[in-house]
């Protein structure tokens, strides 16, 4: 009997330990102009705080936090849209710096030393003075001094941004087109040299309004288009950055929206989407698992499966207002959010990597953006120093959670994640 109890206890401890590997920061957007954006912190299978930023800093994060990324070992960046603030925090939640030089900021990406921010605004404060733009722009923040060191004008209302091979890939939306008289929806992906911050090329996809979440899996981007909500139906795109840099045909369009999407551990995309039309007032809900390389190879005839692992598809379909999806790049655990009625608290759902629903947790208003922290609980806990065996490892990622597939991409002295552990590439 004693043996059985001991086994049970050990098993419980093991499970507890496994779950403790999950550390997720969730941005709750709050309500527009109510200054009630918040951060929820999920650990050990439960929400430990729904006001994590307030707890750590004694102040509010601001109005409508819209994106969050890990910049490097010690730094996380958060775009707080309506507050016009890019807030920098340490992984323990304490604030480091904040800048309002980039008004109406939207989405972020980083190479560890610089943070690149898309903005719907028309001016930006840089170390060289104020820069003005007719359309939208991308700003480059140097995290050594949190100043904007360069900008580049792209399309109207640029949204998603990703970094690949030293180039920034920016999905332009023209999202203000329904209200503004002087432009229509955008159809381009802008390619910007991250080092020089110059626009190299606009890839015209022919697809309007590339708005929504944009996920990256190595060379592949998953881009959403909600259409114009009237005549042009929504759709999704798989974009190949590698081919785009070579000037080859680089994207495939398919007839499913991918409103919220995320990258899986094996480099695919999970997406949920809704096709909505103001003409009919109706929507069609869909779930997708996307294998980007197959989609590109077969021109979209294969590689799209209308399913998600386990019970995820039905769980999302039963939500009041799905508002986000995310896969923990360290562990493969899956997360989704339900914004509920937008007046009350939203919920965070957690699934196992196989899609088994593990629980749902009350968070705050409009939870929609996620960042996983390393599972071992130590930001600086590098398990393997100087490894040379990173590229093409089935579970190797950079700190932004992108699979690492090519040795040529790797930089010496940079930390990658291999088998869920931080690894320094050096040898």
């Amino acid at each position: 009997m004693m043996k059985r109890y001991l086994t049970f206890l050990l098993l419980t401890l093991y499970i507890y330990n496994m779950r403790a590997q999950e550390r997720i920061i969730v941005l709750d957007e709050g309500m527009w102009q109510a200054d009630n954006g918040r951060i929820s912190y999920f650990e050990n299978g439960s929400i430990t705080s729904n006001q994590w930023f307030r707890d750590k800093n004694g102040m509010k994060i601001g109005d409508t936090p819209n994106d969050i990324i890990q910049v490097n070992e010690n730094l996380i960046a958060i775009a707080v849209n309506w507050s016009n603030i890019v807030q920098f925090i340490r992984p323990d939640g304490t604030a480091v710096a904040a800048t309002e030089d980039i008004p109406n900021n939207r989405r972020l990406c980083s190479d560890g030393n610089y943070v690149y921010v898309t903005s719907y605004g028309h001016e930006c404060e840089t170390i060289y003075g104020t820069r003005y733009f007719e359309k939208g722009f991308v700003a480059k923040i140097d995290v050594s001094n949190f100043k904007v060191v360069a900008t580049c004008e792209v399309g109207y209302e640029p949204e998603g941004i990703a970094l690949y091979e030293g180039r920034l890939f920016i999905a332009n939306t023209g999202g203000y087109a329904p209200e503004e008289q002087d432009h229509d929806f955008e159809t381009t992906v802008s390619i910007v040299n991250a080092a020089t911050m110059t626009l190299e090329r606009n890839v015209d996809t022919g697809i309007s309004n590339l708005f929504g979440e944009m996920s990256q899996s190595g060379r592949y981007l998953c881009i959403n288009s909600p259409g114009d909500y009237y005549d042009i139906p929504p759709c999704g795109l798989i974009f190949d950055c590698e081919k785009a840099l070579k000037g080859e045909e680089c994207f495939v369009v398919f007839n499913y929206p991918v409103t919220y999407n995320t990258t899986t551990l094996d480099g695919r995309f999970f997406a949920i989407g809704s096709a909505f039309s103001y003409i009919t007032g109706e929507y069609v809900f869909s779930c997708l698992t996307i294998e980007p390389w197959t989609v590109l190879k077969t021109r979209g005839r294969q590689g799209l499966v209308q399913t998600l692992p386990g019970t995820m598809a039905s769980d999302f379909a039963n939500m009041s207002q799905p508002y986000g999806i995310y896969v923990n790049p360290y562990t493969g655990y899956i997360y989704g959010t339900d914004a509920g009625s937008f007046e009350g608290a939203g919920y965070l759902f957690q699934w196992s990597p196989q899609g088994q629903l593990l629980g749902q947790h009350k968070v705050y208003v409009n939870p929609g953006h996620f960042l996983a922290l390393p599972p071992d609980g130590h930001q600086d806990g590098i398990a393997d120093t100087g490894s040379s065996q990173i590229a093409n490892h089935p579970s190797a990622f950079d700190l932004q959670g992108r699979p690492v597939s090519n040795n040529g991409q790797l930089k010496k002295g940079t930390i990658y994640i291999k088998d869920g552990k931080k690894t320094l590439f050096g040898r």
């Binding site: 309500m31 004694g58 109005d63 909500y229 999302f316 509920g340 208003v365």
Partner: protein
């Protein structure tokens, strides 16, 4: 349905023809009973009509509150909204400052269920369905009344039955010739000048009232909590407006012309910012104009006829093309609305204790806007009511059936909404015993989706259903006036009323994102249930040259969500912005022409989101004081008035992050002949 309305119109027109013929042969027999027989009959009839209204026996059947005459003038008010906040059951939504949108919500029905009427004709806004009460001044008003459900006069237009609650603004009918000028200086660089001229000449009465005001509106505010200590001055909160009104009355005829033009800043919510560099600048220009006329006539002993007509023209420009605005789309939109309205009402009084009435209203609205993907929208709104009222011994009863039909025409891409066709009933019953009236009523009414709800670019939903309300009320009312006629020994008057109520709103029209998209759209979503108690107490005492008044109102209510029983976080939880308890107390003391008023308002805690118990608007106490003195020299008068609002400098808000001004002062100098 067209035939149906044609028949209704024909019936009413036929009745009018009969009554007109009868009137020509039979002058009003009561006219000869009045001493002013030498005057023209129409003016005599008017006097008679006023007398009847004063004794209106069915008045107590309606749940109503009125502020009029001296009580109204004694309050510290700049607009109609300021007066209404002292009524029981009223919640004010105010975005702060002189230019902030001010709407009222009665018994938690929502602002769009409150009809606002000037001399019995509704102020409408087909575009958004709400009336900004900040645009209406009290200086030309005789009284402000709030009726829950129906007013219940015996000759009402169908529109007057068509809202959940009704606010009546009764224009002042001058009794003498006068001219007055007012100058005001108030806090936050506010200047105002007002001119009022009145005349009463050979049975004609009229007035012209004009006002110009300019305010910088940069009031200070402070947010102090565990997580912030924000201080600042409200930016982009300035306003300049001009208001001009004129009215003309004669007997049963009344008319009113109104113009309001303004330019104002539209400040956003106070959110975390690192500096004041980027304010969300938007500016708004309004030009509202209406002209209306009403004619009411009694024929024989048993027929009353009323006709209303109105034309309204509203223009609104909203511009966000400013460098300080980096956060929203840059637009310069223009909206133009026109409204033509006509109503015919006939009331038949077969016995002195019974009245049967019918009214047909038609309103034609057109909305033009230079929004993308928008086209002109035209709406014809027809209403027909059949009503009966009885006042037999101590029993009073009223019943009405209202039919509404809305038809829209537009070339917006989604197409026009299907016509809306509904009957809704209302029934009231009252019994008076030993001076105490016990009453009960039930009313069903809906609000039709507004043109914005249905057609606004990137939000409108043509498939919306109307938002339904069902109200049930039981109350009692008691009036007492001292029989002592000697002013030296003092005269007392006391009014007490209390009502308990239940109401339910179904198919609420709200703006929500459709499932799984970022796209917001109007939807029918949700159901609420509210129960509460409204009570008012009024006491007046006069002795010699002193007079004292005490006005008290109390509201207790529980307003809960009944949308989804499986949603534990929301179901049966309080509705946002709905306080459980609020009360107002006003004390007025006057000696000759010196008057001192203190008003106290308490509004309890309100949730503004259901996500966290911390998401509350703190309760607030608001004390206003007003001291005025008028010095009369022969026919001229010179007045001075000092008002201190929010004496305790309480920082409060109606909408989260939209602070209200703290303590502020107004000094008014007036001169009249």
């Amino acid at each position: 349905m067209t035939h149906y309305y044609l028949q209704a119109i024909l019936a009413i027109v036929l009745a009018l023809a009969v009554t007109a013929g009868a009137s020509a042969q039979n002058p009003d027999p009561q006219a000869s009973q009045l001493p002013t027989a030498g005057e023209r009959t129409d003016s005599i009839k008017q006097l008679h009509e006023v007398t009847v209204a004063a004794k209106q026996p069915v008045r107590t059947i309606a749940t109503s509150q009125t502020l009029s005459g001296a009580d109204l003038q004694a309050l510290s008010t700049t607009s109609v909204a300021d007066a209404l906040k002292y009524f029981s059951g009223v919640q004010i939504k105010d975005y702060g400052g002189l230019g902030g949108l001010k709407t009222i919500n009665v018994r938690s029905l929502g602002a769009q269920h409150v009809g606002v009427y000037v001399d019995g004709i509704r102020l409408t806004n087909a575009q958004n369905g709400t009336v900004d009460l900040g645009k209406f001044s009290l200086s030309s008003m005789e009284s402000v009344s709030l009726y829950n459900a129906n007013k219940l006069d015996n000759c009402q237009s169908a529109s007057e039955y068509a809202s959940g609650a009704t606010v009546y603004l009764q224009t002042k009918r001058p009794t003498s010739d006068s001219l007055s000028v007012q100058l005001r200086n108030a806090s936050f660089f506010t200047w105002m000048a007002k001119l009022n001229a009145q005349f009463n000449w050979k049975g004609w009465q009229g007035f012209v009232d004009g006002e110009y005001c300019s305010s910088r509106g940069d009031y200070p505010f402070r947010y102090h909590s565990q997580y912030e200590d924000t201080v600042g001055h409200r930016a982009n909160s300035d306003i300049r407006y001009v208001r001009a009104e004129a009215a003309l009355f004669r007997g049963g005829f009344s008319s009113h012309v109104y113009y309001y033009g303004s330019e104002r800043g539209c400040p956003g919510g106070i959110v975390r910012r690192l500096s004041d560099k980027y304010t969300n600048v938007g500016r708004e220009w309004d030009r509202d104009f209406f002209v209306q006329a009403s004619y009411k006539e009694h024929f024989l002993k048993w027929l009353v006829f009323k006709a209303n007509a109105k034309y309204a023209n509203e223009y609104l420009r909203y511009n966000t093309k400013y460098p300080e605005n980096q956060n929203t789309a840059r637009v310069d939109n223009h909206f133009r609305q026109q409204d033509a309205y006509g109503a015919l009402c006939v009331s038949f009084l077969p016995w002195s204790w019974l009245s049967l009435s019918s009214s047909y209203d038609i309103r034609y609205s057109i909305l033009r806007a230079d929004l993308k993907r928008f086209d002109d929208v035209k709406r014809v709104d027809q209403k027909l009511v059949f009503a009966a009222q009885m006042n037999w011994h101590d029993i009073q009863a009223a019943v009405s059936a209202l039919h509404q039909r809305y038809s829209d025409w537009t070339f917006v891409q989604a197409g026009a909404a299907d016509p809306l066709d509904r009957w809704t009933p209302a029934v009231s019953l009252a019994y008076t015993l030993y001076g105490v009236t016990l009453r009960g009523w039930y009313k069903e009414i809906f609000r039709a989706p507004t043109l914005n709800d249905l057609y606004y670019t990137q939000a409108g939903n043509r498939n919306l259903k109307p938002e339904y309300t069902k109200q049930f009320n039981i109350g009692l009312e008691y009036h007492w006036i001292s029989r002592n006629n000697s002013m030296a020994n003092g005269q007392w008057a006391v009014d007490i009323q209390a009502d308990v109520y239940w109401n339910r709103i179904e198919n609420r029209i709200v703006c929500l994102p459709m499932k799984g998209t970022y796209t917001w759209s109007m939807m029918n979503y949700g159901e609420t249930f509210c129960r509460g108690l409204n009570a008012t107490l009024k006491g007046h005492y006069r002795t010699g040259q002193w007079n004292f008044s005490l006005l008290n109102s109390i509201t207790w209510q529980r307003d809960v969500d009944r949308t989804d029983p499986s949603d534990e976080d929301m179901y049966d939880k309080p509705i946002c912005y709905s306080p459980a308890f609020s009360t107002g107390l006003t004390a007025i003391a006057g000696w000759r022409t010196l008057q001192f008023t203190t008003s106290y308002l308490y509004v309890g805690e309100r949730m503004w989101s259901k996500a966290d118990p911390e998401d509350i608007l703190e309760p607030y106490h608001n004390i206003d004081m007003k001291l005025s003195y008028t010095h009369n020299i022969k026919k001229t008068s010179l007045g001075l008035c000092l008002e201190v609002c929010d004496v305790l400098d309480i920082q409060y808000e109606h909408i989260p992050r939209y602070p209200m001004p703290g303590r502020n002062y107004k000094l008014t100098l007036s001169f009249g002949i």
